[in-house]
């Protein structure tokens, strides 16, 4: 039931765009996105809820395709500070717990 993230890793030049995907084989209630920098705790980025509601940072863009049970995180005009590992977490029901993906490592080079 663990969501599948792709790609596993991506290397970008500063200013380039990236898309990170998260997919589940189960119907989802919500998808969560977090970023973790090396040696630090994960930090919340965004929640996308079934029905279209989104909660999160204004500078983060993401989508949630309820029919395909897929979510994508869009990182545009990447900055060095975007480097880290991005985790998606999926929730099948509002009363269920978060199940985490294995993460996508993003490296931004100057």
């Amino acid at each position: 039931q663990q969501p599948v993230q792709s790609p596993q890793a991506v290397i970008l030049r500063e200013g380039e765009d990236a898309v990170i995907n998260c997919s589940s084989s189960k119907a989802l209630y919500s998808v969560h996105w977090y970023r973790q920098k090396h040696g630090e705790a994960p930090v919340f980025l965004m929640i996308l809820l079934k029905g279209g509601e989104q909660k999160g940072h204004d500078k983060i863009s993401a989508s949630f395709n309820e029919k395909k049970q897929q979510s994508s995180l869009y990182l545009t005009a990447s900055q060095l500070s975007y480097s880290g590992t991005y985790f998606c977490g999926t929730v099948m029901d509002s009363n269920y717990q978060l199940i985490w993906g294995a993460g996508t490592k993003l490296i931004i080079k100057p």
Binding site: A41, P42, V43, D93, S94, N95, L98, G101, A102
Partner: protein, 113 residues
């Protein structure tokens, strides 16, 4: 200071010893969680708590014990530490299981020799 704190930040212990990791939050969040993070496995839920005196198992609970006598504290105890429990442990809190963001503590790096 407001937030979620963990102690100790680093711990080295021997196989067979009992170890307790502390977690304290000041937001009065009802839910608290313990995760372990190992290279290549992402975050795995050990135990969670919906409120004081209500706890439940997560994905990998074997070898761990939790308690929650007060809303703000959620200690995790390794009753008899094993080398396979060497990991980074994160505590988190939230207002729900899945509808709201989780706030993570800084983590405890535990090494079992």
């Amino acid at each position: 200071d407001a937030g979620i704190t963990q102690s100790p930040r680093y711990k080295i212990t021997e196989t067979g010893r009992q170890v307790t990791l502390m977690c304290h939050q000041t937001w009065s969040h009802s839910y608290m969680f313990w995760y372990r993070q190992d290279l290549g496995h992402g975050l795995r839920l050990i135990y969670y708590s919906a409120a004081a005196d209500i706890t439940d198992k997560g994905e990998v609970p074997d070898g761990y014990v939790v308690s929650r006598s007060k809303t703000e504290n959620f200690p995790l105890t390794l009753e008899s530490a094993t080398r396979s429990q060497t990991s980074v442990y994160f505590c988190a809190s939230s207002n729900s299981r899945g509808s709201y963001e989780q706030y993570f503590g800084p983590g405890t790096r535990l090494t079992v020799t």
